[in-house]
């Protein structure tokens, strides 16, 4: 790599050619203040806080946008620079309501930090001269335009990162405002509430309704984990305080999402108001009564022990961890020889023995063929990748489904998958995103693109890949089960049809986090932890195994999903491992 030599504050610094002054300074640990700049966004030099003095330049230069050249001499805190920054701050603070104490961001605000750094102790210019509206029409977060500094981070996040292009800027000068679409309330706009703008906002202009005023960053813990709302496997940070989850941030270092999250992953988990199952329960005389773990497991052991393999039915939810699904497979399929096992959600058709592509291929493709899946609704982050590629110039072919969330972005919508494949065949670098909606005929049509296209199965459910790998894709016959073990986890019961055929006399064990029609019918209920309460691992739709971490304690007597099965296995006298590390290692080995 070609290096360029420059001098910053008299210190010799070399940085790769093409670096901005800001990047070069960062490499040398020289701190230049910024406001509109953000590591994940394209710099625009809007706020001008990062101005520096460059010898030979007519005026002060914005460090975030200006590339370095050989021999450049830079001063980052010269009297002229400091004077300019103070002026910029005085103007910024005067523009709107930037009075700190009653702002939710106070203590974490980047504008406030700059005020401290440059000794802003009173307003130089008249302030509060004009009131701006507050837009709280979105469910999860609101925008107070009075706190906005017009840095444009939100607009760039919406356009450059999420490729949704909802946000823009209207009016001029002091009247400038961030707006959605053609100036409609955010709640009625094309906004998908992914919250990326919320996370990049440097001030209190964008504010999370749920976690506002509930703690400053310094008072909170950030636990890295993986989202379990769909099969993409986005990295996230669970923000907690005092054993409570305040909010979910995206992880900028997430391997797949690189800082993106969606409404389903960032907000919905915190608004789940279903009643939790908090202790083991046993049905006695037609009613469920609280019991101890030991009693509950003993009751199950007796029933399973006396049933023959054909009488055992097992239903698994794909939102369980790799470890739980592994143990469930080992215990029931391997040890107890049960064959009537099934998965609570459908799966994408298996086109090939080996995975043929990854989500990262979307970014490199020139034609994207989407078939039998609706990522905009079910796996939104994958749809962001698609929209991003469309922005770049890639063509999007939707096979069927005018109701598909990606329809407004599609180059063409073709009902006949065969014809869509013919078009994709002519592309240089096609990628196929296919889901459970692809029929057998469709699958055969898609196979024609083998060798040419990159195939990414977009699995419905969460940990479907692991569930399938551990044997849970068979045809499940509810009527055949005399003893039914349902590993439900957090899954809402879309399986009332399954229940309909269950033998009235069948003994039903439900391992679940929430009360549901199935727990109401159960003979034994085992409380299990939710996403924030357990460690383990998840396999995403590409087959990538990622670790999830525990952020808070399980509610009541609930236990991690794998631990429940490990205890049950021990009670049945099967040695399948007791520690998470041991089971994790075995599960991961099996998944390879």
């Amino acid at each position: 790599m070609t290096m360029v030599n420059i001098t910053i504050n008299g210190q010799k610094v070399s940085a790769p050619v093409g670096s901005t002054i800001l990047k070069a300074a960062k490499l040398a640990s020289i701190d230049i203040p910024t406001l509109c700049d953000h590591p994940a966004l394209v710099p625009v030099g809007a706020c001008r806080i990062c101005v520096v003095e460059v010898t030979g330049q007519r005026t002060l230069i914005t460090a975030c946008t200006f590339p370095i050249t050989e021999g450049m001499e830079i001063q980052t805190e010269s009297p002229q620079v400091v004077k300019a920054r103070k002026l910029i701050l005085d103007l910024l603070f005067s523009e709107r309501n930037h009075y700190c104490p009653f702002c939710q961001m106070s203590g974490d605000c980047e504008l406030q930090k700059l005020g401290y750094r440059y000794g802003l102790d009173h307003f130089i210019y008249p302030t509060y001269t004009k009131g701006f509206p507050v837009d709280a029409t979105r469910k999860y977060f609101f925008m107070d335009h009075n706190r906005c500094v017009l840095c444009g981070r939100c607009e760039r996040a919406c356009g450059d990162l999420v490729a949704n292009h909802t946000l823009g800027l209207r009016n001029r000068g002091a009247s400038s405002m961030i707006h959605a679409d053609a100036n409609v309330p955010f709640g009625e706009s094309s906004c998908v509430s992914c919250g990326t703008c919320l996370q990049v906002c440097p001030t209190g202009a964008l504010c999370d309704k749920r976690s506002a005023y509930m703690g400053r960053n310094i008072q909170t813990e950030h636990i890295k984990s993986i989202c379990n709302r769909c099969s993409i496997g986005c990295g996230m940070e669970i923000v907690t305080r005092g054993g409570n989850v305040l909010r979910i941030d995206s992880d900028w270092n997430g391997e797949i999402n690189e800082g993106l999250l969606c409404k389903n992953g960032r907000f919905d988990p915190l608004y789940d108001e279903r009643e939790r199952v908090t202790q083991p329960m046993i049905r006695i005389g037609g009613k469920l009564f609280p019991s101890s773990w030991d009693e509950a497991l003993k009751t199950i052991t007796e029933k399973i022990g006396s049933a023959n393999a054909k009488e055992i039915g097992v239903l698994a939810s794909s939102n369980s961890t790799n470890e739980a699904l592994y143990l469930l497979g080992q215990l029931f399929c391997k040890e107890l020889k049960a064959t009537n096992v099934g998965l609570l959600n459908s799966t994408a058709p298996k086109l090939f023995d080996k995975p043929q592509g990854s989500l990262a291929d979307i970014e490199k493709s020139d034609v994207i063929l989407v078939a039998g899946t609706d990522p905009a609704n079910d796996q939104p982050v994958a749809s962001f990748f698609v929209k991003h590629a469309v922005d770049r110039g890639a063509k999007l072919i939707l096979a069927g489904g005018k109701d598909n969330g990606l329809a407004p972005f599609a180059t063409m919508i073709i009902d006949d998958l065969g014809k869509a494949v013919e078009i994709a065949e002519r592309a240089g670098n096609p990628v196929v995103l296919y889901g459970a909606g692809v029929t057998e005929k469709g699958a055969n049509a898609l196979k024609k693109l083998q060798g040419k296209a990159s195939f990414v199965a977009i699995e419905p459910g969460v940990n479907t890949r692991a569930a399938v790998a551990f044997g849970f894709n068979n045809e499940f016959k509810a009527s055949a089960a005399k003893v039914l073990y349902a590993l439900l986890g957090e899954q809402g019961l879309g399986s009332e049809d399954v229940l309909k055929d269950v033998d009235k006399k069948a003994f039903i064990v439900v391992q679940a986090s929430y009360v549901s029609p199935l727990t109401d019918k159960a003979d034994v209920v085992l409380p299990t932890a939710i996403w924030s309460e357990q460690a383990g691992s998840l396999t995403n739709t590409e087959g990538r195994v990622q670790k999830v971490n525990k952020a808070v304690e399980p509610k009541g007597e609930a236990k991690p999903d794998w631990e429940v099965l490990s205890l049950l296995a021990s009670k049945l006298g099967k040695k399948l491992g007791t520690s998470l590390d041991e089971i994790s290692a075995k599960a991961t080995q099996e998944l390879k």
């Binding site: 309501n97 104490p101 406030q112 401290y116 000794g119 102790d121 009173h122 509060y128 009131g131 009075n146």
Partner: protein, 181 residues
């Protein structure tokens, strides 16, 4: 050695800054060995003496014409004027009314408030007239030292006063005492 004379007063504030000053705790004994507090809202004498003081301390925002009179009188009668607290420096909580306008705020408070029947906005000539814009003290008089904070920490008061007594004029407080969050 004669004691240094200090006067304090409050404008549109909540008295919290004065409470924070008292929070210097036992150090107040040492302070009173060196300074004479001629007047303050929490002592018997309320107005700064005509012959003047060395240091004047003001808490609260400029909200009405009365606040301007008090601020100007303090300015005339002191050599060094300190504005303490977020109200005196930035406008503070009273300045929130700037976002809706003074008329709307008065109407909401005296007429539209739920239990009020036949409400009336006070307009006695003895009262100061509310201003259209609430501001910090710096808008109407020259201020020599701003100590923001809601309230400023007791240590910030202690630091500023001991620096002044040592013959040094702090321009901006050190970072650990300079905070308005």
């Amino acid at each position: 050695m004669t004691k240094v004379k200090v006067a304090t007063d409050w404008l549109a504030g909540c008295a919290g800054c004065h409470m924070s000053l008292l929070d210097i705790d036992e150090r107040i004994v040492k302070l009173l060995e060196l300074v004479e507090i001629t007047s303050s809202p929490v002592t018997d004498l309320k107005h700064p003496p005509k012959e003047g003081v060395t240091v004047g301390i003001l808490e609260g925002a400029i909200c009405n014409t009365h606040n301007i009179e008090v601020a100007k009188q303090m300015r005339e009668r002191c050599q060094i004027l300190i504005a303490v607290g977020d109200c005196a420096t930035f406008g503070g909580v009273p300045a929130m009314r700037n976002l809706c306008g003074t008329d709307a705020a008065l109407k909401r408070a005296y007429i539209d408030t739920e239990p009020v029947v036949d409400g009336l906005i006070p307009d006695s000539p003895e009262l100061g007239k509310p201003l259209e814009m609430v501001t910090g003290i710096g808008e109407v008089v020259k201020v020599d030292l701003f100590i923001p904070g809601c309230p400023p920490r007791a240590d910030a008061f202690w630091y500023a006063l001991t620096e002044l007594l040592a013959g040094r004029t702090p321009i901006i407080l050190p970072p650990h005492l300079f905070t308005y969050d």
